[in-house]
């Protein structure tokens, strides 16, 4: 499955009021609008994993991160932070192309690591392999059902192939759009896609009350 098809399929996995962080130039340029709360970050030198964790800790909505394997490797410190956070509403989908960038067909270190799954399991995260589920619409529907009941933090891998870059949407979101996203995150009246099992127990509401 190529990257473009993967991104179109991800849309079927996202619930209406989910907060989605899409990171990396190729993913941002090709991804369709996934939900009202989607943010595209082109710049891979910024650590968005911990920003998403900060959001997940302080919201009752599902937070989904879509990133590439190279970004995961370069921000691996944040994985430890996510793993120990036990944030039940945080989900990561890693598109594994094993390339540094979509432009340079040079393999990164991802497949050279003896067991990436082993490393991640030992941090305390739940690790899933979703490549097969992304092949047909029927299996994707099945996955969505599983996904709605999975307790985070969970990291899932989908093997993708590189393709010519199809620019279908703009560059990184601007300040105004980020403010809109912030309003969306703050809106407690929106229905959350989380079920009883994966509702975050990390509740800041109680400590936000006046002393």
């Amino acid at each position: 499955m190529n990257r473009k098809k993967f991104l179109n399929n991800v849309k079927d996995l996202v619930f209406e009021n989910d907060i989605v962080f899409c990171i990396g130039q190729s993913l941002c340029n090709e991804a369709p609008e996934l939900s009202k709360g989607t943010v595209f970050i082109n710049d891979t030198h910024t650590d968005i994993l911990s920003v998403a964790l900060g959001v997940a800790m302080t919201t009752d909505k599902r937070v989904l991160l879509i990133l590439e394997d190279q970004y995961l490797l370069s921000n691996f410190n944040a994985v430890f932070q996510i793993a120990v956070s036990k944030c039940t509403n945080l989900y990561l989908i890693v598109a594994t192309s094993t390339l540094y960038t979509h432009e340079v067909a040079q393999t990164n270190l991802f497949n050279s690591i003896r067991s990436m799954v082993g490393v991640l399991v030992n941090t305390g995260m739940l690790v899933h392999e979703y490549s097969k589920y992304f092949e047909t619409k029927k299996s994707l529907k099945l996955l969505k059902d599983i996904y709605s009941r999975t307790i985070g933090p969970v990291i899932s891998f989908v093997v993708i192939t590189n393709n010519r870059l199809y620019t279908t949407c703009g560059d990184t979101r601007n300040l105004e759009e980020l403010n809109t996203l912030s309003e969306f995150i703050k809106d407690k009246s929106l229905e959350t896609s989380l079920t009883e099992v994966n509702t975050p127990f990390f509740n800041l509401e109680s400590i936000m009350k006046d002393k």
Partner: protein, 139 residues
């Protein structure tokens, strides 16, 4: 000199900061010992960049937060600060000890309008600031 509990009371109750993260440093020992879980939350971070990310994320959700760190690590977070917080105008407060490695504060706008401990407040932009806590100011 000010009591650490009064410092927290001012920051949490009056100014509404409830979400704290950072890397423990010896100079802030008194502050860590007086943290109270009933009105604030402290998350130990892997490093300063993750700490900054966590508070930025909380800030997007409307929760006011601060990073406690040493001034020595300020260079480490510069890229993250420029590429995300300043670019998208995400407010952040740094509570920094700079006794052994003074920050070059002359490049920032200095004020003491937060009125905490009479400490210096250096404004990085209109929404982000560094609260400089000198050694021995808090007991």
């Amino acid at each position: 000199m000010i009591k650490a509990k009064i410092f927290w009371d001012k920051l949490c109750s009056e100014l509404g900061y409830r979400f704290f993260t950072g890397i423990p440093i010896a100079e802030f020992k008194v502050l860590y010992n007086t943290m109270a879980i009933d009105f604030m939350h402290f998350i130990p971070a892997v490093d300063e960049v993750r700490a900054l990310g966590l508070v930025s994320g909380a800030s997007l959700s409307g929760v006011k937060g601060a990073v406690l760190m040493s001034s020595r690590a300020f260079d480490n977070i510069k890229a993250q600060m420029d590429n995300f917080n300043i670019k998208y105008n995400i407010p952040i407060l740094f509570i920094v000890e700079d006794t052994y490695n003074p920050l070059r504060l002359e490049q920032f706008e200095i004020s003491n309008d937060l009125n905490i401990l009479d400490s210096l407040v250096a404004y990085l932009n209109k929404s982000s600031a560094i609260l400089v806590v000198k050694e021995g100011v808090i007991s």
